[in-house]
């Protein structure tokens, strides 16, 4: 007798908009909360300045801004610690900043300068800093998923109490690498947290067109792991979910798939004419789903900061951005000689053992 598994997605109604009930600050101290705000603002301002510089032709390349999604990277990376790692995407600046990378060398990298994290060889889509546990932005959609599974595999083999966070987009959830990477991690209960940043679009196609179901998180069922939906503009909501997933991962209970419902305020890449959505749609999101505004209000509601306190942070960050740009612009171009270096460890560029 045939058994019908399920003709439909389980009914889930994530309450978009501000979460009901009292604010939950989790284990975050006042200082932590202020830090979170500072990081979110740093991301926002970094991206805004990158946009300006791009339009002024002071930097170049294929650049994807994270504006509107700041709460996700910030909260998630706040929930991990020393020795933990992340993998990122083409839209990676926010993840870098949330992992503590400095804006100066980031800006330098976007300008192709020798002082950049990748010495100018990577650019926006490839910033990496293994010292910070940042395994790399990635130009290939979905490719970071098996890689972070592998980092978690390394922790599991070494029995190190670390976790890997894996960021990817809604579009990436349709890649084979998504399936293989999560499936393998689930089978061994590896310490990795998969965080889907569902910003509503994969390049120019809306997630409604690309995804035959309502929520990416539903796919957790395919791997026997928990699936969680959070409001991506609510930094405390994201933090709580990631914190719990990290706890499970460290405890040996395996991966979690978290879907953060978010929205990108800018085009897919710098230069995108955005024919696929209306200005009104973007304006509405900017008005109601701005993570920075929402968290600023929450901080005041919690009594952690006054409007003046926040203003002071804005001044600091603006100043930091000036210095980052100055650092990048005053840094030297890489010399022609480095074209042929960095291919192999311990060997010359021809691959002959040195």
């Amino acid at each position: 007798m045939a058994t019908i598994v399920s003709p439909i997605e389980p009914a889930i109604a994530p309450s978009l908009g501000t979460a009901p009930g009292a604010l939950d600050r989790h284990d975050l101290t006042d200082r932590d909360l202020i830090d979170v705000y500072r990081t979110m603002l740093r991301i926002r301002r970094f991206e805004e300045r990158v946009k300006d510089l791009f339009l002024e032709a002071r930097l170049y390349g294929s650049v994807h801004l994270y504006i509107g999604e700041e709460a996700v990277a910030t909260a998630a990376c706040k929930a991990i610690g020393d020795g933990d790692v992340i993998s990122s995407t083409h839209r990676g600046h926010g993840h870098c900043i949330a992992m503590g990378l400095e804006t100066g060398p980031m800006m330098a990298e976007l300008m192709g300068k020798v002082t950049g994290y990748n010495h100018g060889k990577g650019g926006s889509m490839h910033i990496a800093s293994l010292d910070h546990g940042m395994l790399g932005a990635n130009g290939i959609v979905g490719a970071g998923i098996p890689i972070s599974t592998g980092a978690a595999l390394g922790f599991w083999i070494q029995e190190r109490p670390n976790v890997a966070l894996c960021f990817f987009g809604d579009g990436a959830a349709n890649q084979g690498a998504f399936h293989e990477g999560i499936n393998f991690a689930a089978g061994l209960k590896l310490p990795v947290v998969f965080i889907c940043e569902n910003n509503g679009y994969a390049q120019f196609q809306s997630v409604k067109q690309d995804l035959p179901i309502e929520h990416v998180a539903t796919r957790a069922i395919s791997y026997g792991i928990p699936g969680v939906i959070v409001q991506g503009e609510d930094v405390l909501d994201v933090y709580g979910a990631v914190k719990e997933a990290v706890r499970r991962a460290r405890a040996g209970d395996g991966p979690t798939l978290i879907e953060a419902k978010t929205y990108r305020f800018e085009g897919h890449f710098l230069g995108d004419p955005e024919p696929y959505r209306t200005r009104a749609e973007v304006a509405a999101a900017r008005a109601t789903r701005d993570p920075l505004k929402l968290f600023g209000a929450q901080l005041q509601e919690l009594g952690v900061a006054t409007a003046e306190d926040l203003q002071a942070i804005h001044v600091q960050i603006d100043d930091e951005m000036e210095r980052a740009i100055e650092f990048g612009e005053s840094s030297p171009e890489p010399p022609a000689s480095v074209l042929l270096t960095d291919i192999f460890t311990g060997a010359d560029e021809h691959g002959r053992a040195s």
Binding site: Y60, G61, S62, E109, G112, K113, N118, G120, K121, G122, G123, M125, H126, N138, G139, I140, V141, G142, G171, A172, N174, Q175, G176, A177, A202, Q203, F204, Q205, Q209, D210, L211, P275, Y276, E333, P334, A336, V338, L339, L340, D342, I343, E349, H350
Partner: protein
């Protein structure tokens, strides 16, 4: 005859072929709002059943067109960047390329895999690799690399009408900037016929795709110092018009090969091997390759430029041969 860009020429070919044969359909990511304008207007004209936007699933695209071709359609698939095809190699190579032979000849698979290669837009290592050598190493695929808008239109039409899997490679730097006269009438260009872009007597330069622009620049510089270069564009590398190349080399006794892919085991190596085999006694000097060095494309634009062959390098290579 109108002067159009490379993008427009490709767009014309798609419009005309879709009108001509209702079995032709397009499939790919974001093809409704095509970044470079190649598929512009097609969705409006032919609708969602003939211009199919897909999820980000390169392997599904590559395999789906094989299945669709098996039931009588003539798909044209788009992979935005050639490096993304690495997500689909099994379907393109183990399946599409091999099926006909494995099946004892019985499959007819009219598939075009369109993609764009080449560096020069600061996209860094994962968006710039030129992989024509990989595909040329695989029996069962034809490989087309148009250089001019005129050829792009004619060769794309030939590709769509061909009954075999074709890898149709475009160069992304050329889309907006390379212009040329293109008739609005129907014409095709046969596979396996090289174009002599410039006649000359002293040295043969075989260049692939955009490198023909570099080669012609170099040829002009060389002419100033009295060296007349013959510039040959193979246009398709499988099938390859070896005859035209060998004929030229037998006349000039020297050859420089220019392409954008990495030098090591690039298609230039195959050209050297075949030229040497068929024109050994005519050669006054070893064939020389000017190609990308064996490093991924760096992001920094100065380094990136250094990683792509330049006219100066070609001139230098030719002068080295003439000594």
């Amino acid at each position: 005859m109108a002067v159009v860009t490379m993008s427009q020429a490709l767009n014309m070919a798609l419009h005309e072929e879709m009108a001509r044969d209702e079995r032709v359909f397009l499939i790919g990511e974001d093809i409704k709002d095509s970044t470079y304008g190649i598929t512009k207007g097609l969705w409006d004209t032919y609708g969602h059943k003939r211009v199919i936007g897909t999820p980000i699933s390169e392997a599904a695209i590559a395999g789906a067109v094989l299945g669709a071709a098996s039931v009588g359609l003539r798909p044209v698939a788009e992979f935005m960047y050639m490096t993304f095809m690495m997500c689909a190699m099994d379907q393109v190579v183990n399946q599409a390329a091999k099926s006909k032979y494995m099946f004892g000849g019985k499959a007819v698979l009219p598939i075009v895999y369109r993609t764009m290669a080449g560096a020069g837009r600061a996209n860094a290592a994962q968006h710039t690799q030129s992989l024509e050598a990989w595909f040329a190493h695989v029996p069962g695929l034809k490989i087309v690399m148009p250089t001019t808008p005129y050829d792009a239109k004619g060769l794309l039409k030939t590709s769509i009408r061909d009954d075999n899997p074709v890898i149709f490679i475009e160069n992304k730097v050329q889309y907006a900037t390379t212009r040329g006269e293109v008739p609005s009438t129907d014409y095709t260009i046969p596979f396996g016929q090289a174009a002599i872009r410039r006649a000359g007597t002293d040295v043969t330069i075989v260049a692939l795709q955009r490198m023909n622009e570099i080669a012609l620049e170099a040829a002009d510089e060389l002419a100033e110092i009295g060296i007349e270069a013959e510039v040959i564009d193979p246009r398709t590398i499988v099938p390859l018009d070896l005859d035209s190349i060998v004929k030229s080399v037998r006349k000039t006794h020297r050859v420089v090969i220019v392409h954008e892919a990495h030098e090591r085991v690039g298609f230039g190596a195959e050209l050297v091997a075949q030229i040497v085999q068929h024109a050994f006694d005519y050669l006054d000097a070893p064939p020389i390759r000017v190609a990308n060095p064996n490093v991924p494309t760096p992001f920094n634009r100065t380094l990136e430029e250094l990683s792509i062959p330049s006219a100066a390098q070609v001139v230098q290579a030719v002068r080295g041969l003439m000594r």
